[in-house]
Point group: D2
Amino acid sequence: MTVRIGVIGTGAIGRDHARRINQVLGGAEIVALSDVNRASAEAVKKDIAPEAMVFETGEALIASPDVDAVLVTSWGATHEQYVLAAIAAGKPCFCEKPLATTAEGARRIVEAEVTHGKRLVQVGFMRRYDAGYIALKKVVGTSIGAPIMVHAAHRNPSVPEQYVTPMAIHDTMIHEIDVLRWLLDDDYVSARVIFPRSAARSHAKLRDPQIVILETAKGMVIDVEIFVNCHYGYDIRCEVVGEDGAASLPEPMAVQMRLDARLQNRILTDWKDRFIESYDVELQDFIHAAARGTAAGPNSWDGYVAAITSDACVAAQEKEGEIVPINLPARPALYN
Amino acid sequence: MTVRIGVIGTGAIGRDHARRINQVLGGAEIVALSDVNRASAEAVKKDIAPEAMVFETGEALIASPDVDAVLVTSWGATHEQYVLAAIAAGKPCFCEKPLATTAEGARRIVEAEVTHGKRLVQVGFMRRYDAGYIALKKVVGTSIGAPIMVHAAHRNPSVPEQYVTPMAIHDTMIHEIDVLRWLLDDDYVSARVIFPRSAARSHAKLRDPQIVILETAKGMVIDVEIFVNCHYGYDIRCEVVGEDGAASLPEPMAVQMRLDARLQNRILTDWKDRFIESYDVELQDFIHAAARGTAAGPNSWDGYVAAITSDACVAAQEKEGEIVPINLPARPALYN
Amino acid sequence: MTVRIGVIGTGAIGRDHARRINQVLGGAEIVALSDVNRASAEAVKKDIAPEAMVFETGEALIASPDVDAVLVTSWGATHEQYVLAAIAAGKPCFCEKPLATTAEGARRIVEAEVTHGKRLVQVGFMRRYDAGYIALKKVVGTSIGAPIMVHAAHRNPSVPEQYVTPMAIHDTMIHEIDVLRWLLDDDYVSARVIFPRSAARSHAKLRDPQIVILETAKGMVIDVEIFVNCHYGYDIRCEVVGEDGAASLPEPMAVQMRLDARLQNRILTDWKDRFIESYDVELQDFIHAAARGTAAGPNSWDGYVAAITSDACVAAQEKEGEIVPINLPARPALYN
Amino acid sequence: MTVRIGVIGTGAIGRDHARRINQVLGGAEIVALSDVNRASAEAVKKDIAPEAMVFETGEALIASPDVDAVLVTSWGATHEQYVLAAIAAGKPCFCEKPLATTAEGARRIVEAEVTHGKRLVQVGFMRRYDAGYIALKKVVGTSIGAPIMVHAAHRNPSVPEQYVTPMAIHDTMIHEIDVLRWLLDDDYVSARVIFPRSAARSHAKLRDPQIVILETAKGMVIDVEIFVNCHYGYDIRCEVVGEDGAASLPEPMAVQMRLDARLQNRILTDWKDRFIESYDVELQDFIHAAARGTAAGPNSWDGYVAAITSDACVAAQEKEGEIVPINLPARPALYN
C-alpha cells in the first residue's frame, strides 16, 4: 500500500520532506500540497510532485479523501490548528517542531489525541533517529551501568542578530531537551542556567554561551553548554556517565588527514548536514506507521513535555542561577 | 515513473535486494521473481513482493514485457548468461559480483554492451557507494596532492575450511581491486604476493595472511594485507599517501566508551554490517539510471578489469614473490 | 654547585622524592633526613642516601649549616611550622600539599615570606609540570581565543570508607583548583556544588559524584565533575572553550590495540601513574631555583588561594546548590 | 658514586649529551672533552662543563685515569677507532650511530669486546628507550598473540640535495632496522625494495619514497615506507599484527583542538623533537651501567647486525624489487 501524503507548508523544510517522500523513500507519495503562499505549493508541485493537487487551505487538504496522512511543515504558529484538524479527521500527522508555540497549545493536542484514543501524531524530533544517538542509547542501556550524569554541548558557528537569548532554548536546546529525556528514559524536575561572560561574537540581545543544568526524577544531573557563536563549527557532544563507565556520542564520520603538520578531521559547519540522514529515517518511520493508520516515534506528550521544559528553561534564564522547578502533569496511558 | 524490476536468484542476497526495493527505496517495485529453486522465489513473493509474478526461467523473466530492469543475484556461474540476455533485451541489469566467472566471460559482456551502444550493466561493487570511501575519494582528489602509495588491509575474523588460498583474491581482495582503481582513477600494471608464515588459525589449504602489492600505470605502489583469520574483527583499512599529505578511510561510527580501564570502541565482526548502507545507495543509483533506460556506477569494463586483475593476483600467489604483469586491452569509448 | 637537601618526613612521598634527587635528577643530593619516626628516616638513609645525616627534629635539620634547601613531606598538620622555620632560616623550601591545613596558616606563611622579601617556598602542585597541561596552557594562550568556559572531570576508580564528602575538595578537587587558576591566569570569585544521586559504589558519609561550578574574575564558568568511585579508571579530563575554538588536555600516551572486537587503549587505574613524570620536573625546577637561593613554580600565595577556595567549596557542599562567594585579599607584589 | 665521563666529539649531539649529563641527569659528570676542532671543545667546557679538561686527542682522553667512561659523538668515520680504544682501556663507551661505517668495522668491535669478555659498548639506538616503543613491545609480548606482520612508516618533511638514495637506508631506515628487531625479538633473513614513482619534491639523485620489505627468521614480513619528502610532518608509525590482534605505536602526546572547522592535533615537523626524551633515558641507562663498569642497552652485536642489514637494503635498492638474502654469522654468547 502506498500512503498518500499531503504537505501543509511548502517552505524549505516542507519542500525537502516532499523530495524525500517522492524521490528517496518507499511506501508513500505526495498527493496534496498547500501553502499560505500558493505559488510556493505550485513550485513544489512542478519540481517534485507533478501529480499532487494544490489546496487553498490546510484544512481542505486534511479533509480530502485522497489524503491518507499529513505533514505539517508550516509556520510554527499554525501547527496547533492543523494537528488538531488532522486528529479530528483521524489521519496520521507528522508535525515539525514545535508541536505548538505554547505548552497550553501542546496540551490541547495531547487531550485531543487521548480523546481520539489512538496515536496519530509524530513530532519532528529527528535526533532520536540519528544512528549515533541510537548507538549511544543502546550502550547506555547495556554497558555503563545506570546513568548518573550527562555532559553535553550544542555548538553552532554563528547566529544572526534576530537570534535572542530565549531562542537558545526554543530553537537550540529544544533538541537536547527531547533527546536526553529519551536517551535516559527519565523526566526533568528542575532547570537552572548559568551565564559566563558573553562571547565577543555575541550581540546585545543575546547572552551566549550559557550552561543549562537539568535535574531528573531519577536524580541525574545534566549540564548542557549552549554556544551559538562558537565560530569553529557545528558540534554536538554528549557524554553519559554511569555507575560503571562513560559513553560518548560518536563524532560524525570523517576522513583523517595528515596534512600541514596537523592530524586532522573536518568538523561540520552547517547544522543541516549533521542530522541529514535522520530526516530520512524519521519520515520512513512515519510512513510505516501511517500505513497502519497510526503514528510512531516522538509523540504529542513528548512535544508537550518539551514545551513545559523549554518554558522552565527560559524562566531559569531570567532568574539567572536560580533553580526553577519543572512540574509535569500525569502522563496519559496512551503514551506509556 | 516506477521501475518494474525482476529478480533472478532469490537466495540471501536476492531476497535482501528485493526487500530494499519494496520496503526501503523509492522509485521501483519488484514485479517478477525467478529461481532455480522455485520454492525460494515463491517464498520471497509471499514475504516481500505479493504482487510479483514467478517465472520458470531467468530468460522468461527477462523477456517479460512487464519487466523494465533486472537484478542478477543467482549463482555466480549463471551471471554471464543472464546479463547477456538482459543486454540482448535492451534492459538495464544489476549484476552481483562476479560479472562472470572468467575474464573471457566478462569480455563477452563488454563486447555485447559495446555493440548495444549504451550502458545497461551495473556490477555490484558496493564499496564505491560507501560514505567513507566517497569521502576519502573527495579528499584524495583535492587535499593531499597526487597520490603515490596506498596501504590497505582487509581483515576478517575467520573463514571456513573450504576457503582456500585463491579465494583470498576472488572473494576478498576483489573489493580492494575494484575500489582502489576507482579511488585512484588508475589502472594496474603488475601484481606480486608475499606470504608471511601462516597464522595458527589458518588451515592446510590456505596461506593466510598475505600481502598483495600492486603497481599502477601512474607509478603508484599499493600494498594490501589480506588476513581472513585475524580473529579480532572485520576491519577494512586504507591510507592514501600523496605528495602533500595522507588520508585514511574513516573508521565506522562507534560509541566511545570508558569502561574496564579501557578507552574503547566496538569493532565490527560481521562483514555484512560493514557496508550495509552502501547496498541501499547502489540500488538507488541503479533505479535512478534504470528509470532513464540506462545504467550507472561500476560498469562491465570494471567487472572485466577486476577479473583480469584477479587472475593476475592468483598467478602471483602461485609464483610467490615474483612480479606478474597485468595487461589490459584498450578501453572501449563507451566506458570513458 | 650541588644543592644539599634535607628531607623532613620520610614516608612514601618523602622517600620517593629522596630517590628522585639521588638517583634520577642532577644538581642536588640528600644530605639530611628527619622523621617523627626515626626508623623511617634511617631506612631511607640506608636504602637511598647513605651519606645523609639523620636529625632528631625538622627544626634541627633546617638549622644545620650543611643543609641548603628543605623538602617538607611530613604529615600535613606539621607543614606550616617547618615552612615557617625554613623561611626564618632563609632556605628554599619545597612543601607538599597542603601548604597549611587552614587558610589562616597559609596566610601566615605568605606574610612571613613577604616579610623575608624573596621567594623561598614552592608548593607541590605537580600538575603545573605535567607535559599535557603545559601543552594545553600554550594552546589556550595562543590558539583558541580568550577562554570562556572549562569542562573538567576528575575521576578515580574507588576510595576507602574513611574518604568523606569534604575530602572530595581537600584531597581531589584541590588539584583542579590550583591548575585551572594557573591554566587560565585568573582568580575564582564564587563556588557552588550540585549533587546528582550518589553512585551505588559510594557510602553513607560520601556524596559522590558531585559537580563543582566555579566562576572567575574574568567571567569564566568552570564545571568540574568529581567522581571518586567511577570504577572504570583514573581519568583526568579538561576542555577549555574559547572565543575561537576548544582545546582538550591530551590523553595519556597509550598503545592502540585492535583486539576482541574492540579498538582500545588502556586507561590508567592508579593516580600515582598519571602524573609520575611531573614529580621529576617539579623537583628539578626546585633544585634549579634553590641553587640560586630562591624558589620557582607554585608559590605560597597559590597555596593560600587554594586553601581559601577549598574552604569555599566545602561551604558550597554544605549549602548544596547555593552560590558561595570567594573573597581574596590583595595579592602581595612579591607574587606578581 | 659519580661516573666521570669524557666526550669525544663536541658537535651538536656531543654538546647536547654533555648538557644532559651535567644539567639533567644524576650520577655522572663531564670531566673531559676532545674534538678535532679544539675550539668546539673549549666552547662546551665554557658553557656546560667548566671543570672539564680538554684533551688534544680522543685517545688521550680515553687513556686519562680521570675518565671512567666515554661518549663517542665524533664524525662517524672515527667511531670505530675510539670504540676500539675504549674497549682496549676497559672503559664503558657510548657510541652514537653508526657503530662503524662498515659492517667489517662493526665486526672488529664485536670481536674486541668478545675478547675482552664483558660488555662495554652501548650503541645510540635511542628508539629502544622511547616510552611509546617500550609500551608497544610490552603489548606485543603479552596481548596480541605471536606477531606475523609489521606495517611501518618513517616520514620526514624534507631533505637537502645531498641526501641521496642510499641515505634513506643508512640515515633513516637504520632506526627501524634496529628497533623492529628488538621489538620482535627476531632477525632478518632478506630484504627487498620497491620504488613507486618519485615524489615531485624529491630530486635527481634520490628515489623517494620507497618501500622496504624485510622477512625474518620466524617468518614475519615487515613493510616500511620511507618517505623523506612527505612534506606534512615528521611522522613515525608502526603497527604490529599478531595472531590475536594488532597494536600501534602511540601517537606523540598532543592537545586536541576544535578550531577552524577541524578537529586537529599538531604533528611534529622536526625529528629532533620526536624522541627527545629517549635521549635522556638512554644516557641514564648508560650511566647506571657504567657505574658498575659495564654497558647495557643496544650492544655491539646490534650495531653489527644493523650494518649488515643496511648493506643488504642498499643492495636491494640497486636490485629494485629483487630479494636480497641477509646472512648473519653466529651470535657470540656475550650477546645472548
